[in-house]
Each structure stands twice: as C-alpha cells, then as structure tokens.
C-alpha cells in the first residue's frame, strides 16, 4: 500500500442493476436499481430511505459482500464486480460503517485501526505509521481523533469517527453508512454532517441509510426510496419534501404533524420527589429526580441514550428499587411497591425492551394479551382454570381494535413484527384504562405506519385525561407529542421547558450536558 493517501476518488460511478435477494418466505430485495456517481471530482451523498424491512440494509449488505445476491449485476466504473466476501468489497474500495460499531473496547484507536491490516513490519505492529496516517486523515476531514486513547474512553460520536477513519484508512472510496445518526445528539449530528460534506467534496461516494426524513433532506444529493423490497423512485433531493418522501415510504398519505388539541392539564397524577436509584452496575443511575405529570398532559423526557432514562422508567414501574425519595401515583405512595400494587393504582407501562419486559416471546398472542389479568374473569374461572373462550374473544377484539397483523390468537408473539408486538402491548396496557402511563421508547424499531398509529393512540389517551410520561431518544417523537419537555443528563434532570419554548439548539446543548 502506498504511503501517500489516495487523493483521487478511485470510484467515479457504481451501478447496481436488477438486484434480487430472497430469504426463506420473503423477497427482501426485488429488482432494485441503484447507483452512486461522482461528477467533476465531486462525490455524491445518496440517501437510501425506507422503513424497517424495506430492504435498505439487505441491498447494502449485498454491496459490501455480506450477502450474495440471487440476481442482478454490479458495475464499478463500467467493469463488472463479483463479491464473495467483504474482503472483495474492501479491495475494490467499498467500506461500510455498521449500526453497531466493530471496535475492541480495550484497544487504542491506532490498535483498532491496525487490526486486520497487513503491517509493513511483518509480524510486528507498525503503530507509528498508523498513527501518522490517522493524524493525516483526521486533519483533512476534521475528524478529531486521538490515536492513543483506548476505545472505551470515547463517547459514541467519537467511536463513530474512529470507524470512519478506519474505513478511509483502508482506502474506502465508497462508504456505506447504516443509520449513522441513531446514536448521536443533534449537535453531534451537525458535526458529523460537516465531515460527510467534506468527504463528498473530496470526491468520495457515500450511501446514507436512514429513515429520518429531515436528515436525509439535509445531507443528501439524491434520494432513493425503497418499499417492500422494491425501489419506489430515485429523485434529486432539491425536488423532495418531507411529506412526499413519507408517502413514498409508506405507500399512502401519512400524518407528520399531529392535530394536537391544546393541553388542559388536571390534577397531578404522577409525582417523583428526589428519587435516587442505582443502575445495573451499582452506580448512581438516578440522582435526585423530581418531576410531576398532570392528568391530560404528555411530559417528554429527552436525553442521549444511557443518561438515566432507562432507570427512570424502571423505577417508576416498580422494577428497580428506589434507594431514596418518594414516588406517588394517583395520590398513593407507590415507592418500592410491587407491580401488582402499581396496577391497582391505575399505572400502565410500555417497556423499552419489549421482548424482555413486555412480552413472553414463546407465548402466543393471546397468552401475552392476558399477562396481567390472567387470573381474573373472563380469562379464568373458579380461581384455577383458564377460560379459553374468554381469552380468545378478548384477544380477537384487541387484534381488531388495534389493527394487529397476526394470523391468529395462537400465533407465537415472537413471529410478529416489532410494530405489531408493540400494538399488542398497547392493547393490553391501555385496555386497563390507566390513569398514569409510562411509555418508554414506544416506537423504537417500529415502522412509520405503526408509529403513527401508536402516536395517535397516545394522544387519544391524553385527551381522555391520562397522565403520560413519554421517555424517548427520538427527539422528533418528543417534540411531536409532548406538552412539556424534560432533559436528562447523567441521571439528573438538567432542563425543563414547555413545548412551545423549545429551542432545538438549546435542547441539543442540554442533552450534551451544558447547563
């Protein structure tokens, strides 16, 4: 490998034509054309947009050599390309940054970059050369990276930069970015976009996989929308709008801005008073958290992942001991009470990890639906036997009411999609007519259609007078639904403001810890 960095893009155009990929029982990618092209030394950022399961990741994994296509051709600069493994792709200048970083936490940045690379010194590591080139790359793309810091000390945004530097180091001319902004704060996203633009202007080709419309509109040159494995259209970003893209993704008109009636809050239904709790590592997870939620309002808790939101939800739901402080729901003290007592106080909970806390994956749809009330009529009789007729009737009703797509009530819940599982949890929790609802990441990993549905249901609950605490890492969701916004940082509440007063810059700064 030459010592100087390649300055010219080594790929000026890449064409995928008629790509096909079949998985058992599903056509994941169906006759899709896709291209990325540079012009006059300037690269391109091509956004690949679609819902979960639309085939975006599958298509790109074909391009990175992780999947073998069942049909179609790939041409790089008009020569056909056959990919058997990621090595083939890397050799041809194609790199990919995965959603989950592939870094060894205990090794330094330079060591991670040297991993899997041939050293010029045979069996010995050549860290000085790596260091020098990392510095050179950081300089050119404003990717601030210290080569001698171990990965575990880096924030998520910094780790992402390391991934990008590594890909560039390997000589990537075309870089695939799989949902790269999911882990970043708004401020970090801005920095990240600057890096991407710099790379593009330098002649790199970038594929930006996302389902966030505003980001796609902000960063890309062209947009290709996939739906159900097929390409809907490819359009220049300058001609695109949010609404139009959303409709292309979902295949029908969608509502992006909800019609929210003005908030008319009633009595305080949920009250946290100086609550402290430990996290899973035994350190302070919640520090003196004080908040309240009134009937008929949605309070959104924003924050970067891992700043106590998880602990907050679990502590209120009675699944994590509260080490000091008090929690009151519906006028009753529920501090460290069992979930059963909480249910009786009119609490409902949509858990963050739905496959672990929300449902029993090997149980059927019906069995999961009756999880809380399995011992009560109409699901049981005589205090001992289950009443299958009652269970079936009620779960069929829930399937109809909540538009849950399932072959039947006896289907194991694990074979349903995330959106449908979430709808079942919603049916179960809202069916109890709660007065207080804790919704933790209610639409994470859920497609647009189901997200819209869940949002509408939450707003309906709000009009019914339920006090809702919405904990979400998706700022759009917080802003679309909340009446008040609370920001958490390192287990503390460091900001609170009415929705109307939210300034996105200031919110981002708070999420990053600025007071």
């Amino acid at each position: 490998m030459p010592d100087t960095l390649p300055t010219q893009p080594r790929i000026s155009q890449l064409h995928m034509r008629g790509m096909m990929k079949r998985f058992p029982g599903v056509l994941a990618v169906n006759n899709v054309d896709f291209s990325v092209e540079a012009s006059n030394g300037r690269g391109e950022i091509h956004a690949l947009l679609g819902e979960n399961g639309a085939g975006k990741s599958t298509l790109m994994k074909i391009l990175y050599g992780l999947y073998r296509a069942d049909g179609g051709t790939i041409h790089v600069d008009n020569t056909p390309l056959t990919l058997r493994s990621p090595q083939d792709a890397i050799g041809r200048g194609i790199g990919m940054i995965h959603q989950h970083f592939m870094l060894v936490p205990s090794l330094t940045v330079a060591e991670n970059i040297a991993l899997g690379m041939k050293s010029t010194r045979g069996a010995l590591l050549d860290l000085d050369r790596v260091r020098a080139r990392v510095a050179e790359l950081s300089e050119r793309y404003h990717l601030k990276v210290d080569p001698d810091v171990p990965i575990w000390q880096l924030a998520v945004g910094e780790q992402q930069r390391v991934e990008i530097v590594r890909a560039l180091y390997k000589g990537a001319a075309l870089l695939i970015l799989d949902e790269p902004t999911a882990v970043l704060t708004p401020g970090e996203v801005d920095d990240f976009f600057r890096v991407l633009r710099q790379m593009r202007d330098d002649g790199h080709l970038l594929v930006f996989i996302s389902h966030k419309l505003h980001e796609v509109l902000a960063i890309s040159d062209r947009i290709t929308v996939l739906r159900d494995g097929q390409r809907v259209d490819t359009i220049p970003t300058s001609t695109a709008s949010k609404l139009m893209l959303a409709q292309m993704m979902v295949g029908r008109p969608v509502v992006l801005e909800y019609d929210r009636k003005p908030c008319a809050p009633g009595d305080v239904k949920l009250m946290l008073d100086n609550v402290n709790a430990l996290n899973d590592r035994g350190a302070a997870g919640l520090r003196d958290v004080t908040l309240f939620v009134r009937a008929g309002e949605i309070v959104g808790v924003a924050g970067v992942s891992g700043n106590g939101q998880h602990e907050l939800a679990q502590t209120i739901a009675g699944l994590r001991p509260c080490t000091s402080g008090r929690i009151r729901a519906n006028g009753q003290n529920i501090t460290n009470k069992s979930p059963r007592v909480l249910h009786r106080c009119g609490m409902a909970y949509i858990p963050e990890e739905r496959m672990i806390d929300g449902v029993i994956k090997d149980f059927s749809v019906a069995e999961n639906f009756i999880l809380h009330d399995h011992a009560r009529p109409p699901y049981a009789r005589g205090g001992l036997f289950m009443r299958f007729r009652g269970i079936r009737t009620a779960s069929q009703q829930a399937i109809r009411d909540y538009e849950i797509k399932t072959p039947g009530t006896e289907t194991p819940i694990k074979s349903l999609s995330g959106g449908n599982i979430q709808k079942l949890i919603l049916a179960r929790e809202l069916g109890r007519k709660p007065q207080v609802l804790i919704a933790a990441q209610p639409t994470r990993g859920v497609d647009i259609g189901a997200t819209e549905y869940i949002h509408q249901r939450l707003l309906e609950e709000r009009s019914k007078g339920t006090a809702i605490l919405l904990i979400s890492e998706d700022l759009d969701e917080i802003l679309a639904l909340s009446d008040r916004v609370i920001v958490m940082y390192e287990g503390r509440i460091i900001g609170e403001m009415p929705r109307e007063d939210v300034d996105i810059r200031q919110l981002g700064a708070l999420m990053a810890g600025a007071q």
Binding site: N52, S338, H343, I356, D362, S364, E367, M386
Partner: protein
C-alpha cells in the same frame, strides 16, 4: 385441529424422525466397531424389550419410575428450574414411603397405600423444595444444589438402612442393607388385563400380564401425566409456572410472584420424583434395599427421567412414550448383552447419541420457527436457553 395444522405439525416432527435415524446410524457405527452387526443388536434390543409378554411387562416396570420423574422434570424445566435432583428426591420419597408402611402395619391397605404415597410425595417435594427455596430466595444455582443433594440423599439412605431402618432379622449379618419387608396390605396391587374371548385367542392368554411384575404404579403415572398436562396448560398455576420459566422479567412486571412459582415448580417436581421412589417400594421391591452403590436403589431413574422429559418435549404426555422407549432400551440391553456379548453399557452410549441428536433437532426446529415470520421482520430476541416446545398446545 384443522387439517392444515395437522399437516404442519406432521412436518414439524420430521426433524425428530431424521434425528432419530441419524442417531441410529451413528449407533450402528459404534456397534460395528465392536464387531457387532447393528441390525442384530437392534433386533436383540427389540426382542428383549417386547419379545414376550414378560419382556413387555418388564419394560413397562422400568418405564414407570422414569415416567414419574420425567413428569416432574417437565414441570421444573418449564418453570425455568433445571432440576437434576431426581435421584435424591426419589430416595427421599422412598425412605418416607417405606417408613410409613413399616410404621403402621396393622392398618388396612386402603389407608396405608394412599398415606405412604402421599408422604412419599411430600418428602420428595420437601427435598426438592430445599433447592427450590435456595434458588428462589438466595439465588443459589439449582443445578449445583440438586446434584449435591443427590449425594446427601444416597448417604442418608445408607445411614438409615444400616441403622434405624435396618431389617431386624438382618441385625449383625453382613448382608446387603435393607429394610424389613412391608406388609402385604401395603403392596400396590399387580396390574393385569382381562382379555375378552376374541382377544385372548390372539394373545394366547386370558389375562394379559397375569404372571408378571407389572403393577398399578404405571396407571398412576399415566393419570398423573394427564393431570400435570392439564395443570400446565389449562390452569392459572401452570400459566404462571410457564411464564416465570420463559421470562422472569415480564412475569415480574405482570405481578406474578417469581419466588413462589420457582419454589412451587420445584415442590411439584420433587414430589413426582418422590412418588417414583415410594411406588418403587410399594409396587416392586416391597422393601427399600440397595447394593450400596449410589444408584443401587433408583437404577438411575432419576437421571433417565431427565432425558425422557427432554425427549418428550417437556410435555408430560410426550413423556409417556419417551419413558417407555428408555425403559425398553434398559431391558433390551440385557438381552443384547446375553446374546451378542455386547456390553450393556453400549446402550448407555447409544442413549447419549440419541439425546445429542434429538436436542440438536430441537435447536433446528427452534431456528426455523424463528425464520417463519409473519407481517414483517420478526423482532430480534435475546439469546435464550433452548427449551423444547410443547408437542401440542391447547387451542
């Protein structure tokens, strides 16, 4: 069950059939390595297990304690408790059962038998309950505790058989330690089937199993299998046990008492094993005796029951044929040893091979069912221990 579901379920058993065939293939290689013709060996096993009326009865006699234990293991494993303590719980049940039978020799059978069985169940339940309580309230690994308690039970039995429970007529002699014989009234009656004239010609006898050791314990075990099936899939108790076994966190949030249900599944599981021990005493040996070795009394039924439970898909009904299958291997092995000179321990090896293949098939089925998704991409799930799915669930 609709026709379509029937065929789907038929298709679902295919991997198991293939696994069994593959296991028999490997077993054949093992047999060939010992210079034994596999077909003849299998023939000898089948002949030894089912060839005669008496052979069939012996197979069922061997299957009976395995079935009791397997029912209990099914409950424990469904409840997320890996009970390896069938041996110890069986011994506890046998010691308690024989003590009752010896303590009240004047009482009529109608009193002794149910009482001895009930106390045997209770003793096994309490013994299993120790490990259950340790797991539920102190988070002690139940695999370790049950294995250790097996050792404790064996030594306790040897101690008691050489002391207070020793047959008074054996005092001072060096014979195998054993209790006195229980009174005739305490014996579980022998089981025979009176055949109508048409059938009696076919079987060449008017009373099937008339002169064999087959006893009513088998019927009791089958009834219990049915009751336990109903308990697991038709009652609230079973729903809770299964919920806790599959996912503690979701169950906890649903307001189910985790500790109580862990303890309950171990009590039930131990109780079934305890019954196995008591039935072995009242129905077969009429006393508690051992050759001094760890498995001298149980004949390994406490362990074979675990294998049979897995083989039966952790379903008490599936455990019935599975137990008969393992019973037949045990009985048939002796014939194979006699006729072909193959060590009977070879059957233990074949046993193991079958288990490996069947559990692998289970894994395969598990994976495939995950791929068969509906309405989009199935949710990613956390890694979980593989627990065989029930053979059937109520609709």
């Amino acid at each position: 069950m609709t026709l379509r579901r029937f065929f789907t379920s038929l298709l679902d058993t295919t991997p198991y059939v293939l696994a069994l065939l593959a296991a028999l293939g490997v077993a054949s290689i093992l047999l060939l390595a010992l210079n034994a013709p596999p077909l003849e060996a299998v023939g000898a096993i089948a002949q030894g297990a089912f060839g005669t009326e008496n052979a069939t009865a012996e197979t069922l006699v061997k299957a009976t304690p395995i079935l009791f234990v397997a029912i209990g293991i099914s409950v424990a494993f469904r409840g997320g408790v890996t009970n390896i303590g069938g041996e110890g719980q069986m011994i506890a049940g046998a010691l308690a059962g024989v003590t009752v039978a010896l303590a009240i020799p004047q009482a009529p059978g109608i009193v002794i038998i149910p009482l001895a069985l009930a106390v045997g169940f209770a003793a096994g339940a309490l013994y299993g309950g120790i490990a259950g309580a340790l797991k539920a309230y102190f988070n002690v690994n139940e695999i370790l505790s049950t294995i250790m308690l097996n050792q404790v039970a064996v030594q306790m039995m040897n101690f008691l058989l050489n002391g207070v429970l020793l047959d008074p007529s054996e005092l001072g002699s060096n014979a195998i330690p054993k209790t006195a014989r229980i009174v005739e009234a305490a014996e579980l009656p022998r089981l025979s089937i009176s055949l109508p004239p048409g059938l009696s010609d076919l079987f060449g006898t008017a009373e099937l199993f008339g002169r064999t050791r087959l006893h009513w314990g088998l019927v009791l075990a089958i009834v219990l299998a049915i009751v336990t099936y109903i308990l697991l899939w038709r009652t609230i108790i079973g729903y809770r046990i299964r919920a806790v076994g599959q996912n503690e966190r979701a169950s906890r949030y649903a307001g189910i008492n985790i500790q109580r249900n862990i303890l309950l599944s171990m009590l039930l599981s131990g109780g079934m094993a305890g019954l196995a021990g008591a039935v072995q005493v009242l129905g077969l040996q009429y006393r508690l005796q051992t050759d001094g070795s760890a498995t001298g009394f149980t004949g390994n039924a406490g362990f074979n029951g675990i294998v049979a439970a897995l083989f039966g898909g952790l379903n008490p009904l599936g455990a019935i044929p599975a137990s008969v299958f393992f019973g037949s291997l045990l009985v048939g092995a002796q014939k194979m040893q006699r006729e072909l000179g193959i060590p009977a321990s070879m059957v233990t090896a074949i046993n193991g091979v079958i288990v490996v293949f069947v559990v692998s098939a289970q894994y395969f089925v598990h994976r495939r069912s995950r791929r068969r998704s509906v309405g989009g991409t199935p949710e990613r799930e956390p890694a979980a221990p593989i627990v065989p799915a029930p053979l059937e669930t109520p609709s």
